[in-house]
Symmetry: C2
Subunit: 192 residues, 2 copies
Amino acid sequence: MNTTVSPTASGASTARRRLLDTATRLFYTEGIRAVGVDRIIAEAGVAKATFYNHFPSKDDLVLAYVNEQDRIGRDAVSALPEQRPPEMIAAVMGRISEAVVAGGWRGCPFLNAAAEYPDPKSPVRQAIDARRAWYHGVLRDLLQADGDPTPSVTASLLVALSDGLLEAAYLDDPAAVPALVGEALKRLLVRP
Amino acid sequence: MNTTVSPTASGASTARRRLLDTATRLFYTEGIRAVGVDRIIAEAGVAKATFYNHFPSKDDLVLAYVNEQDRIGRDAVSALPEQRPPEMIAAVMGRISEAVVAGGWRGCPFLNAAAEYPDPKSPVRQAIDARRAWYHGVLRDLLQADGDPTPSVTASLLVALSDGLLEAAYLDDPAAVPALVGEALKRLLVRP
DNA sequence: TCCTATTCAGACAGGTCTGTCTATTTGCAG
DNA sequence: CTGCAAATAGACAGACCTGTCTGAATAGGA
C-alpha cells in the first residue's frame, strides 16, 4: 500500500478524466456507436496507448460513462434537502425540469444507451437495470411513507412518466415539460 | 402509364419486400448502426446491386423502415371499431399492452431510432416528429370530444406515459405493463 | 541523480463499413 | 424468338473501426 499519497493520486489522473469527459460529451450528443476511439482520444488530447492503459476496451469506457451518469444522479438526489414525502417526491421529479431547461438535452442517457445495447446481460444493460431499480425504489419508499396504498404501482407510473417526459423534452418541446411534471404529480398521486 | 398490370407490379417487388422485412427485423432487434448492409442483403438473399437499385443509400432503407412502422401503427388505429371517446382512448392505449405481451419487445422503434439519429433535421427524425404529432393529435381530439378541459395537456401526459411504459416493457417487466396502462388511464383522465 | 511509471505520436494489423462497378443470368412481354 | 428490365455473384475502392505495439519523451519521488 502507499505510505504517501501523490498529488495526482488523490484524484483520478487528468488523462483519464479528460477521456471520460470527452467521451461523455460525444456519446451523449452523437450516440455511442457513432463515436470512435480515435475521435475521443483526439479531442481529449490523449495518446491511444494511454487510452487503452486506462480502459481495456471501448465498452469499458462506455460502462464508465453510464456508471458516472448514474452516480451523478444519485448524488443529486442524496443532496436534496430533507423534507416531507410529498415535497421530496416533487423535488426528485423536479430534477427532470432542471435537466431539461438547461438546453442541449438529447434524451435520457440511459434510454439512449439501452437502445444501442440490446443484450440484457451486457454490463451496460446491467448498470441501466441497477439505475432503474434504484430510481423506482426511491419513489416507492417515499410513496409508502406518504401513505400511498399501492406505492410500487404508483412508483412504476412515476418512472414511466419520468422516462416519457425526458423523451418529450428531447423530441417535442422542452419548455412545456416543467408544467407537465407538475400536472402529472397532481394527477398521479392518490391522496389517501 | 401502364395499360396492363404485371402480377408483380400490383405489389412491391419481392426483392424490395424481403429487404425491408429483413432490415426491420435486424434494425429493431439489434439497432440500426449495428446492422450493416452486407448482413441485410445476405439474410434477405438479395444481391448488393439490387439493394442499391431499390434504396439509394442505407439511410433510405432506414427511413423506409421507420415510415412503415408508422404506417402500420396508424392503420391499426384506423381499424379500431368506432366507439365513444373514453373507450376509444382505452383502445388506443391498449395497443401498448398488445405490442408488449407478444414477446420479443425491444422498446419503441421510434425512440430507439431517435437515439441513433441526433440531427433533428434528418429525414428519419422528421418522420419521427410526424409520428409523434399524429399520436398526440389523435389523443388530443379524443380528449376534447370527451370534454377534457385541457385536452392538449392530458394528451401530452398520455404520450409520455405511452413512451415510458413502452420503455418499461423493454427494460423492466413487460407483464406488469397492461395493468399499469389501465391504472394510468384511471388516474390521468380528469372526469368533468 | 536515478528510477519508475506515465504519457506521447503514430505505425500497423485485421476487420467492417458504405457504395460502385463488371459481367452474367434470369424471366417476362411482345 | 427477341429484347429489355431486373436480379445475380462478387470484386473493388476508400474510409473507418478497435486494439496492439514500438520507441521516445516526460515528470515526480527516493
